[in-house]
């Protein structure tokens, strides 16, 4: 075990190794019965922190899954509690018994979508969101919210369902918080050559939300990889990786996206597939499960597993590769926020810190309560705005307590959520992806480039 533990430390923590290939074949009731009801997961569960009730804790949700299994049906109440789950996977990290809550909730969500009739208004919200989010082109249109509603043809149903009020603040927040884009960020070429001697050939996922709202993060990623000696392949025709769909129980849709991503990347023959968005990476490391869940044939599942084995978070990859480009001083007081799908989902906590520590004069504080989700959680903040904003407020308090002027995270959604909350209170904070900070340091930019 020690050897395995050591090696998983860098590739995804003990839990992800455990919950990946190892548990994928085990039947659902078996996975359920791993829970010994010890409650160790309670204090890290954001909804338990908010509400203090059993059915909105991991242990309670697992119990509700057991009930549904026993009774062969979901009650409205239990579906509500599954919907309340942020999918942050803090419970997976906390659980000493190795309960694969990630697999459990994914299966449960898929079953809910299949078997449970949701009220009309809810159905509308969901289909509205999912006709937008996994599609980069439509998202790009959203960058002017009004224009987006009209262009996507959603304005009608959205408005009549009363969803607009719920969607628009978040969209407005996104637009407001997205770092200013001077003109259009030039699209990445399909191949970015390595600077100096080539050390590796890596594929890069551009992602849907990342690509549409944060193209500059992708640009920085490619630049940093190239400076470290990687030839970066950015396959055209890649789309959404399927993470958002998979996290929301849209198993078939997720499988379609996953299949496409597998096909796109496997023919590039790259050494690794580097991902800079925590949520995407977490799902891509479990593509086998995503396809198996949707009933895809074994050979496809195996191909997906082979690709998953190559998927790494950017920070993981850079640490394993070792630095080559010189880091220049960046005198900034920053705080690092652990994105759930990086820390809990992939066990990546040390690497981003190591990368940041290597930047001269950059001061990086940890947040209090680092294990608690900020409430952003993919599309959660659109579907459950209330708990999302309560959690955002808590996180904003923690960030403010560090007195940092720059918030760094490995997932743009988190920074967005936190910064928007802080701005509402009149506390400004600049945000950046880990790779943007690295990029600034390698290029020798002044602190003003970030804060």
């Amino acid at each position: 075990m020690t050897e395995g533990a050591e090696s998983t430390q860098s590739t995804g923590g003990p839990e992800s190794a455990e919950n990946g290939a190892g548990t994928a074949e085990r039947p659902f009731p078996d996975l359920l019965s791993d829970c010994v009801h010890c409650g160790f997961c309670l204090p890290t569960c954001p909804t338990y922190v908010l509400w203090g009730e059993e059915m909105d804790s991991p242990r309670g949700r697992i119990h509700l899954m057991g009930q549904a299994e026993e009774e062969g049906a979901f009650t409205d109440a239990s579906v509500g509690h599954f919907d309340n789950c942020l999918g942050c996977l803090a419970c997976v990290t906390a659980c000493p018994s190795g309960v694969a809550y990630d697999a459990l909730i994914e299966t449960t969500r898929a079953r809910v979508e299949e078997e449970h009739e949701r009220p009309r208004a809810e159905r509308l919200i969901r289909s509205a969101i999912f006709s937008l989010f996994p599609h980069r082109r439509r998202l790009e249109l959203m960058r002017g919210p009004l224009r987006a509603y009209q262009a996507s043809g959603l304005a009608g149903p959205l408005r009549s369902s009363g969803v607009l009020e719920r969607v628009s603040p978040s969209v407005a927040a996104m637009e407001r918080m997205a770092p200013p884009i001077k003109g259009k960020v030039p699209a990445l070429p399909e191949r970015v050559p390595a600077v100096g001697r080539r050390r590796a050939v890596v594929g890069m996922l551009t992602g849907c939300v990342q690509g549409a709202f944060f193209p500059q993060v992708n640009t920085a990623t490619a630049r940093v990889l190239a400076s470290e000696g990687c030839e970066v392949v950015v396959p055209k025709g890649q789309g959404c990786c399927g993470a958002l769909s998979s996290h929301s129980g849209r198993a078939e849709e997720a499988a379609r996206f996953a299949e496409r991503t597998v096909r796109t990347f496997e023919k590039e023959g790259v050494d690794a597939v580097v991902v800079n968005s925590a949520g995407c990476g977490g799902t891509m490391k479990h593509y086998g499960r995503v396809l198996r869940e949707a009933g895809r044939p074994d050979d496809l599942v195996r191909r997906a597993e082979a690709l998953s084995a190559k998927v790494v978070d950017l920070s993981e990859y850079l640490v394993a590769l070792g630095p080559r480009a010189e880091r220049r001083p960046l005198p900034v007081k920053a705080a690092y926020h652990d994105a759930c799908h990086l820390s809990h989902g992939q066990g990546v906590t040390a690497q981003p810190r190591e990368l940041l520590r290597a930047i001269p004069e950059l001061e990086v504080a940890d947040l209090p309560n680092p294990e608690i989700c900020c409430g952003s959680a993919g599309v959660y903040n659109l579907l459950n705005p209330e708990p999302a904003s309560d959690l955002g407020a808590r996180k904003a308090d923690d960030v403010a307590s560090t007195k940092a002027s720059l918030l760094i995270a490995g997932n743009p959604g988190c920074s967005l959520q936190i910064a928007a909350t802080m701005r509402e209170r009149g506390e400004e904070i600049a945000v950046a992806h880990t790779v943007q900070v690295l990029d600034a340091s390698i290029r020798g930019l002044p602190p003003s480039a970030l804060v």
Binding site: V36, G39, G52, R59, L64
Partner: protein, 521 residues
């Protein structure tokens, strides 16, 4: 969830439990209907007290509360309330007393003796929304907290002042102070610092009749009967703790943790004896056997020395010079007893790594066995070796694996009896072995529980330790607090309905009552 098939109480149908009154006598059909009516009549009034949001009636939701950490016992609560203030708790209890409806207190539900097992005919009063650290008072070296505050959160709140809260059950990140008080919980560091009872200065309690009463306070001593001492360990049978003033301990100047690996348990035991004999008082002395090490490795990759048949964790704290001298001594003694590797940690991170394996051991056993029973018994330290040998023999004879994790310093054993719940009869055989281990403890002059409490699980074992007179005196005491018999009934003390006709349980009135010297309600 594992053990439910053994004794399923999860059914909401009027089972045997729900047909009996709190005192444990069967009154039949009419009474049962009456009870259900009374409970549903209570709901609007409970909502009036705790708010709509603080009362759970939906069945699926209630069911998530059906058991604590000991899932062997399960029963769906009739209604669950989530009060947010002491006043709400008191009002709820007053209502229960007045209406003759039983209530069960619940904290985080990590108990291992089914003390928080709900009642279908009763109200489950959960403190999980009372999670505020009211005050940290470093000048008086204490903190005031609500009952639902997690044990570790006291230390988190006190740390900036250079203090911490000493009792440290393995479940410390989740278990509530209220639960700790009710169970008189301890942890690895009890050897030097004592149990919860040594760390509570004051309590506010809601009595079963709905009064709010303050016992003790910030002052270190209070005159009169030690009612705090009586309340601690009462397992929810004397009311609900609604606030606690707990002692804070200064963070020691130095902490050194040693991990010594031995090839077998005997050598480890010898090391413990010699440490104690030399007069060293470590903060903690913990031992794990090969099976529990394997479980911890699988769960948290704690990276203990390979090939260890036993590991001993010895933690020393205090002034740096003392700690260094003691550490050198402990090292020597461990080497002499045959330790093949000794690691030393003084940094917080390294120390946490050593402890991680030990602290996750119970829950981690889930990795090596589909189901298990955590036993909790105490033996005099001198009998440790012998009892461990007997346990090994029991295990070999029955073919049931037993993993041992224990507080070696104070003789508190936690044998983990492993079985496969899918195998017919395995649960019963495991329960037998687990019971036999308790007998062993008693036979060696020990106790049937060190820190997990009696609850439902061991209520029927109480007569093994106490005479009928003892038990009845305890019952008298309990009734003084709870004349209506509504506070966590059928926990802690055996009742004929719960345990059958246990030989030796007296059924006639207590001699003191007979003589008119005491009152039985």
């Amino acid at each position: 969830m594992r053990d439910r098939p053994i004794r399923d109480r999860s059914d909401e149908s009027p089972d045997d439990r729900s047909t009996t009154d709190p005192a444990g006598t069967d009154r039949g059909q009419a009474d049962r209907a009456d009870r259900a009516d009374r409970l549903s009549a209570l709901v609007p009034r409970l909502k009036g007290i705790c708010g709509d949001d603080g009362v759970i009636t939906d069945r699926a939701r209630r069911r998530t509360y059906e058991s604590d950490g000991l899932t062997y016992h399960a029963e769906v609560p009739g209604v669950v309330v989530l009060p947010t203030t002491a006043e709400q708790v008191a009002e709820v209890l007053g209502l229960c007393s007045a209406e003759g409806v039983p209530f069960v207190p619940r904290g985080a539900g990590t108990g291992l003796s089914a003390g928080a097992l709900p009642r279908t005919d009763g109200v489950l009063v959960t403190t999980s929304r009372m999670r505020r650290v009211v005050e940290v008072d470093p000048d008086n070296e204490c903190a005031v907290v609500q009952p639902g505050v997690a044990n570790l959160d006291i230390t988190r709140a006190a740390a900036p002042y250079g203090y911490y809260y000493a009792p440290d059950p393995s479940s410390q990140q989740v278990c509530s102070v209220g639960g700790n008080i009710a169970e008189n919980s301890g942890g690895a560091h009890c050897l030097k610092y004592g149990f919860t009872v040594n760390h509570v200065l004051g309590l506010q309690i809601a009595t079963p009749q709905g009064e709010l009463v303050r016992l003790g306070g910030k002052a270190p001593e209070a005159p009169g009967y030690d009612l705090i001492g009586a309340f601690i360990g009462s397992e929810g049978t004397l009311g609900i703790a609604t606030e606690a003033t707990v002692r804070l301990v200064r963070t020691p100047q130095k902490v050194t943790t040693l991990l010594a690996a031995f090839t077998g348990m005997d050598a480890g035991g010898e090391a413990v004896s010699s440490v104690v004999a030399e007069g060293v008082l470590p903060a903690a002395v913990e031992m794990m056997d090969a099976l529990s090490i394997a479980a911890a490795e699988a769960a948290v990759a704690c990276d203990y020395p390979e090939g260890a048949g036993a590991v001993l964790i010895v933690e020393l704290d205090g002034p740096a010079a003392d700690v260094d001298a003691d550490a050198a001594m402990v090292r020597r003694l461990c080497e002499r007893a045959g330790a093949f590797e000794i690691r030393e940690a003084s940094g917080a991170a390294e120390r946490a790594r050593i402890w991680k394996g030990r602290k996750s051991a119970f829950a981690a056993v889930g990795r090596i066995s589909p189901a298990y029973i955590v036993q909790d018994g105490v033996v005099p330290r001198t009998a440790l070796g012998e009892v461990l040998g007997d346990i090994a023999r029991l295990s070999a004879e029955s073919g049931i694996r037993v993993a041992n994790v224990f507080h070696a310093g104070d003789g508190n054993l936690h044998p983990l009896v492993l079985f496969d719940d899918a195998e017919p009869g395995a649960g019963e055989r495991a329960a037998e072995v687990s019971g036999a281990i308790l007998d062993l403890c008693i036979r060696h002059g020990g106790s049937i529980t060190g820190e997990h409490g009696v609850g439902v699980d061991k209520a029927c074992s109480m007569p093994r330790m106490f005479t009928p007179e003892d038990l009845e005196t305890m019952d008298l005491f309990r009734r003084a607090f709870d004349p209506a018999g509504v506070a966590n009934p059928e926990k802690l003390l055996p009742t004929p309905r719960l345990c059958g006709e246990v030989p030796g349980v007296r059924k006639d009135v207590h001699p003191l009552v007979a003589q008119g010297r005491a009152e039985q309600f």
